[in-house]
Symmetry: D2
Subunit: 288 residues, 4 copies
Amino acid sequence: MIAPLQHVLRLSCPDRAGIVAKVAGCLHDHGCNIVDAQQFDDRATDRFFARIQFEQFGAPDAADALRYRFGAIADEFGMEWRLRDRTVAPRVLLLVSRFDHCLADLLFRWRSGELFMQPVGIISNHPAAALERANIGEVPFHHLPVDSANKAQQEAQIRAIMAQTGTELVVLARYMQILSDEMTSDLAGRCINIHHSFLPGFKGARPYHQAHARGVKIIGATAHYVTSDLDEGPIIEQDVERISHRDRPEELIRKGRDIERRVLARAVHYHLDDRVIINGATTVVFPE
Amino acid sequence: MIAPLQHVLRLSCPDRAGIVAKVAGCLHDHGCNIVDAQQFDDRATDRFFARIQFEQFGAPDAADALRYRFGAIADEFGMEWRLRDRTVAPRVLLLVSRFDHCLADLLFRWRSGELFMQPVGIISNHPAAALERANIGEVPFHHLPVDSANKAQQEAQIRAIMAQTGTELVVLARYMQILSDEMTSDLAGRCINIHHSFLPGFKGARPYHQAHARGVKIIGATAHYVTSDLDEGPIIEQDVERISHRDRPEELIRKGRDIERRVLARAVHYHLDDRVIINGATTVVFPE
Amino acid sequence: MIAPLQHVLRLSCPDRAGIVAKVAGCLHDHGCNIVDAQQFDDRATDRFFARIQFEQFGAPDAADALRYRFGAIADEFGMEWRLRDRTVAPRVLLLVSRFDHCLADLLFRWRSGELFMQPVGIISNHPAAALERANIGEVPFHHLPVDSANKAQQEAQIRAIMAQTGTELVVLARYMQILSDEMTSDLAGRCINIHHSFLPGFKGARPYHQAHARGVKIIGATAHYVTSDLDEGPIIEQDVERISHRDRPEELIRKGRDIERRVLARAVHYHLDDRVIINGATTVVFPE
Amino acid sequence: MIAPLQHVLRLSCPDRAGIVAKVAGCLHDHGCNIVDAQQFDDRATDRFFARIQFEQFGAPDAADALRYRFGAIADEFGMEWRLRDRTVAPRVLLLVSRFDHCLADLLFRWRSGELFMQPVGIISNHPAAALERANIGEVPFHHLPVDSANKAQQEAQIRAIMAQTGTELVVLARYMQILSDEMTSDLAGRCINIHHSFLPGFKGARPYHQAHARGVKIIGATAHYVTSDLDEGPIIEQDVERISHRDRPEELIRKGRDIERRVLARAVHYHLDDRVIINGATTVVFPE
């Protein structure tokens, strides 16, 4: 007996009666069994969002037939959609500067099988020697220094690496450089950044120092899609930790590292597992 | 234009291909628009669970037609199911002893429109005067003292009140009496208790004193369906709070009250909104 | 045998060698036994903060002798300080508008012995009938409507009530009116407000709508001392709750109520138990 | 100008009037300035606990004079105490089996300067090749296989390594072997284990499978001192994470790894920073 194909379908479209019936019927007709389905109707915008995970039994070309037939339904309902084979690890490019705790964490989770991805490269504006705590191992490393003079050129190098590797997702794992508007525009919906504050509080530089000065009792971190509007992209995941008056900025930075790495890891995992759909300035995140 | 009917359908059955297609098709055929749908396949037991919230447009008897047709599908798939009108407040009976913080909280949430229910009565083994902090107001109060001698008789009185009021859910809001096996058996799946510990830790009496003696750093509370096996019923909701070595049992009791009342309120809300389906010794809880 | 006096001493002063030795020696000389002591040195400002809870054995005038002697030490070190009898409930004035969940909660905690205070009055810009869910009971209620024309006069009435009742703390329990600069200045350090957002995010009006529009994944509430700079006063306590894309502003408001009431209750409790000392734009809060 | 000595003093003794005055006076007499002080009186056992962090100005032998004089006070009050130079990194021995996420995490925190310690060795009952995800680097690795036949001998090897390296703390970073009673007795108060459940729930083997079967809504991890009574040692730190019915045991194991590593890292940090004092079956943990 051959194993069934493992699919995940992610879609959004204007809300209308009969979507679920049509999609479920199509899947059933093509020998598919739904394993997990979640949907959301945004009553404010009358938009429908769904994630459907299913198995397909049948001949090897069954997926093509399904894709063809589903395309017609998607056209009918005006869907934005993606149908993906869950057994293929998405290709991910990791960008980092001097703080490598998020990078080290993502690599550990990847090696332990927790994060299903294929890291196609690590790019840093600092040399590899600056990342001594992370276990880079066999992942190709690219040292691409950047300053105001060579920014366009450096971004062209990043694009070239993306093209060569077939990068599907770019992760800014504490990459402390601001991407150009053109770059963020091209990467819309496929570039995740970790910001070291509980946005929208403490945008911009040195958020832990800002948090200390304001005397908040809880700090946090925010993973979001990158847009040209700095620290304003759609939020994917946030988490927080309680602090006290005893914590100086240095302690906040230390405690914050723990939050940053787990928030970023979750956001990357949700994205790679097709659980995130952008909804205007916000996101729909279907929980595990 | 008339407003659509508001339904919620809760179902579980052995997993099988085509359930979603069949249900969604049926709803579509009867002029229904799905507002929210969640499902879960338990791969361990091969059982399927779903909650579907939908609007139905049509003549007043449209709901009857749907119910009739859906009954046939339910039989075909061996479903346990419930289809309910969301605009009718479920009838709830509240049992309490001396600690009235959960009772006061549930009544406040009901009056503020947060908890959609109809409290049909309050039963206590203590007189109303013992509940001076709760705002009982117009809710009928029954003082039913209980001891080892009159337990059967007192439970018969509770059953009589349930029958007269058409009680759909019994909430043990810190009711410090153990129900008989016969009573718990009759109330299976429609009686929620709040236990003042993070189960399965600290079962039985005086859990905060147990927690203090063991030196845990976090305490919690657990809302669960009542079964004849004390503190072992299917868990609906839990929550926790951090404590320290400074907290004596009295402080734990005080801090615990906050946890107990929000855990119980959430569990009651989830149940009344048909978000909870029992799955053996556990529950499926579809999130809001 | 007579019970010992129960004191709590709260102090702050420029940091200097020998403070603890001097204070502890003084207490020891006056027959005092320290029950709990916490201190904090702010290295950034070189300021010392302490809270010392102690019992004093001796004749009834022992407290006077201690207070006299301690005053000299306080002068020597340039201390701001307060020595208080812990057995006397502080007098608290509660201000509220239409949303009475925080008021109801504070009153419940007071009646259950959880919050040690004496509520000397409730002031609302709405009539008592608007607060039907709270159990006002015997607490004097004052309906003081306010608009742009009578604001100065209404605040004068509040001041009169404060003077008559010997109010020590004013709590804005969702009082949706902005106090005048003169009023906030007079109430510096003895007026606590609950803001329904995780400050500094979402200042100003309708924070839950702002949070929904921004798509945050966690919401919160903030209790802070009132200053003339709106939503910028020193933060005493904050807490948060996870939300999802399913939550519309109405659900955020409902979920937020739970956070608001527990954050405000904690802040009031910390203040009344002399655990909070203002440190510039922030606070030192000595934990229980 | 020479930098002051950095000390931390940890003590416990029967509660008695005048302890703080005596200790603070002694420190003042020896040119010490208290930087942070926390104390706790356990009213149940009438025992006093304190942690005092202070700087000492003076000649190099000032510390000896202080230690000599303080010893006399300690004798007078029957203190258990430890006075330590905070600038010397404690020597730590790490034991691990196949799951290396906690080991990798501790090493990362050590290298990033977050965890102030000196790892003197890693011992595993599996070969180094099994720990491929952790960055062992220059830390000496010892492969000490163990089975029922060679247990005594293997523990003798561990003791030998401890003696050679001057080990001050042993960390069981998911070391899946049960130590002998003799070993746990010798290591009392200086051996920390991470248990992958929210104790006292789910003791023993396969706690995530137990948690799944019981249907809890929150899972956790517990760091505790090792005693001969398995999973019953004094708890240092715990933390939790919310789960849902969708999480199978494999997901719990994955999510649990995050909790385990941060709980263990915190417990080790608290211990190494002399913040933990054992109090019978529980611990006093002075917060940062």
